[in-house]
Every structure is written in C-alpha cells, then in structure tokens.
Symmetry: C2
Subunit: 251 residues, 2 copies
C-alpha cells in the first residue's frame, strides 16, 4: 500500500510547479506503463496498480523499480485522468538529450498551447521517424497529463529539446528553417532542404513575427477549390507535412 | 434578459437526450456565431450575449433571430465550455440533407468515439472541400459541444448523413468504398476510384470486421523506417488521406 505521504506526493504531481521542482511526472494506462518500462527502464521509479486488475508478474520490471498494489479508491485519488485506468508509473524526467546522431530532421514547435495538440504531434512525429523536437518558448509543458495521454508511448521515444527561433535562425545551426505558413510554396512542389528544421506555429497566432518576416523558406498546404475552413488544426498540418517530408525514406 | 425558463432550457441542451428531443443545440464563441448566422440563417433561433463584450449592431442578424443581452453570471450558467466566450447561438438541427449535387467524394466515419476527433475531421474535410460525411452507427453525436467546438464554423458547411457500412457495400451505391487500414496499399501509389467513399474506423478497434473482411480496397499511410508509434490518431490519418485524395483538384 502507499503511505499517506506517498499518496499526497503523487497527487501533487498534477501540478506543473511540483513536477518541475521534483523532475517527476506520472504516465497512466497499461500500454503506456509497459512502453515506459521498456523505453525508460532507468527512469521508472515505481508502478502503482490496482491488484484486482493488474499483476506485477505480467510486467518486466526494471531493477530498482518498485511495484505497489493499491486499492481502487486510492488509484482514483492519484489519477490525473477522468477515467482512471487502474495502473500508472512514476517517472523521472529525462536528462536534456543531445540531438540524435546523424539526424537530418528537426521539428520546432513555436508556442503550441493545447496539450492534446502537442501530444498528438509527438505521436505523429514518432510514426514518421522524426525523433528530435524542439519545444520553443510558450509551448505547453511536455509532462502535462494531457500531453502524456495524447502522445501515448511515443513520449518515451522522442528527444525533446529546449530552444528558441533565434538559435535556429542564427546561421550557426546546420538546419535550414522551413516555416509552415498560410502563404508559402505549395507542399507538393516544395523541395525540402537536406537538413531541415520544420517550424509549426501557435494555434491562434501562427509563427512568431520574428521568423515570419525573415527570409525563411515557407511551405503551405493548399486549401482546395471547394474548401472553406479558415485554417487547419496544427496537429493535422503536422501530419500532412511530416508525411510529405519523410516520404523519401520509403521510396 | 433571459427568463428563468429560458435559462433552464438552454442549460438542458448540454444533455444529448434533450438535444435529440428538441432538435436544438448551441454553438459558442464570436467567430462561430458569425459563421452560423451566415451559413444557417434560417436555423439560428437566438443569439445570447454579454452586452459588456458584444453589441447586436455588429452582427448581421437574420430575420426571426432574436438577440438577448445577458449578464456574465447567466452566460456562465448556460455555457457548455470551460472558458465561456460570452456569446452563443441557439440553433435548430438541419434537415437530413441530400448528397451535394455532383459530389464524387464521401467520407464515412465508422464509430468515431472522441468528439475532438470528429470535430477536427469535419474541419479538415471542409478545408479539403469534402462536404459529404456519413456518420456511421456508434459515432459520437455531431451536436456534442466538443464536436461543435473542434469543428469551428465548418460544422455549418458540411452535410452530415446517417448510414451504415451495409448500405455502402451493398452495390447499389455508386461510391466505391476505400478503407483506411494498417494493411492496405501504400497511399503514395494508391489510385483513387472516381467516386470514392473513404472509410475511417474507430480509434481503438479500427474498421468493423464486416468491411475489413470484404474485398474492399484498402489504403495505408506507411510508417517510416525509423518510426515506432503503433498507430496514427484517426484525425491525423484523415488529414493525410484527404490531402492526397483531393490533390487532383489543384493540379
């Protein structure tokens, strides 16, 4: 069983300040817990589960990771989702990673505010093999429970970097910024630079004015003749762009 | 001001049963209200707004649509979203529409459960000019407030039909079903039939077994060599498929 202090500590991780202070967060659900144990064995601190539904013997627990059986009502107290799945893992933040060796693709997220969007973009990037993401200033915290939920296990497979557009546009970076913008070159004739950093902007305001006014390359997903929506959701745009950008990997 | 009965009626529209009984629902936010008034002038029954923020003279109210000034605390009572935008419109359900004249593209949604996904798919279809959507059994109700919010004004520009996969596969439909499936032909070499009904499946279970086992055409968005996510979110898949499918409209 969890002690009262443990319950209160895990509950406190629903709060961003606490997560940032202790560099810990939780991920919930059977599949996600399994993926965390596999991908981050040295960062999994403990698995907490309702023994009427989950059995420690079914899991490959890494050394040093505790298993704690906990009754349903305590699980409901410590869960951060509306339908508690009955199992969660407490994780330590990863160290700030270096870029993946030999990577030619970066994805830069400029003030993405909606946690569902960030999580979905992480999942989508993982599908398309783009594993280095830069979270620019104003982007929602990646350890937010809604990000963790939407990213599913992909959160443990990408490398999340901090950075600014100024770093990116400074000329010292080998990556050429390509900005997703309403007024750019049509995606289907666009030629991607060999080392590209694709920049996606904020849901309401688009790309920061700094970069929009620069001479950065711009790419657009053209609206169709009969189309009328004012814009695409940023995670939808990320999927269409990532698909086109990484196509050369499969041909 | 709203009467107590009016407040209670509008609040009751947060409940699906009430919406279905009265064939009414609400849409919130300045932009969405403007789009509803423009696209559905004969279905807009009343606009309810906080006069400290919104002025009736700034809106083109269709004949028969009332404007009701309401204080902030009442707006908070009748709002269905977490941050009430201070303006909403009460709308009558549309009549069951016929297919758009001359349409060659249908999108069939097979038990899409998440309202955010359905709303985002509607918005994306509207961007790509696919305006006929069939909501199969088990799909979340389109008048759900989270659908309305995610669809933005696109909800008023698409035609939502009811239907089943049996109708679709019966042979009497001129549309050829193309199922988005993990094991199909790669999107980039796929040749779309002239009259296609693209079928998207449930978030967890995919396409209904009926159609998966039939000899329907299947299309796949290939995972990349370095990719590891188990699947794509269904709204992300819809964006990538719609982009490829409608490309011929712009070339």
């Amino acid at each position: 069983m969890l002690s009262r202090n443990q319950v209160s500590f895990i509950r406190s991780l629903a709060d961003r300040k606490q997560r940032q202070k202790y560099h810990k967060f939780i991920a919930e659900g059977d599949k996600v817990v399994r993926e965390a144990l596999q991908a981050w064995p040295d960062r999994a601190l403990s698995v907490i589960a309702d023994p009427s539904r989950f059995d420690a013997r079914d899991y490959a627990l890494p050394p040093g990771c505790a298993w704690v059986d906990t009754d349903k009502s305590t699980m409901e107290k410590i869960s951060q989702v509306s339908t508690p799945p009955g199992i969660l893992v407490v994780l330590r933040f990863p160290d700030t990673p270096p870029l993946s060796a030999g990577t030619t693709r970066l994805l830069y997220l400029d003030a993405i505010r909606d946690p569902g969007n960030l999580g979905t973009i992480i999942r989508t990037a993982d599908w398309f093999g783009v594993h280095d993401l830069v979270l620019g200033p104003g982007t929602v915290e990646w350890a937010n429970p809604k990000v963790v939920q939407a990213a599913m296990g992909s959160l443990f497979r990408v490398r999340l970097h901090a950075g600014t557009l100024v770093d990116l546009a400074s000329g010292s970076s080998p990556f050429i910024p390509v900005v997703a913008d309403m007024e750019g070159e049509a995606l289907d004739s666009f030629r991607w630079p060999e080392k590209t950093c694709l920049v996606l902007g904020n849901e309401s305001h688009g790309i920061s004015p700094d970069l929009r006014m620069s001479d950065a390359l711009k790419v657009t997903i053209p609206k169709r003749r009969e189309g009328a929506a004012e814009s695409l959701n940023v995670s939808i745009a990320s999927g269409i762009l990532l698909n086109a950008w990484t196509l050369q990997d499969i041909v």
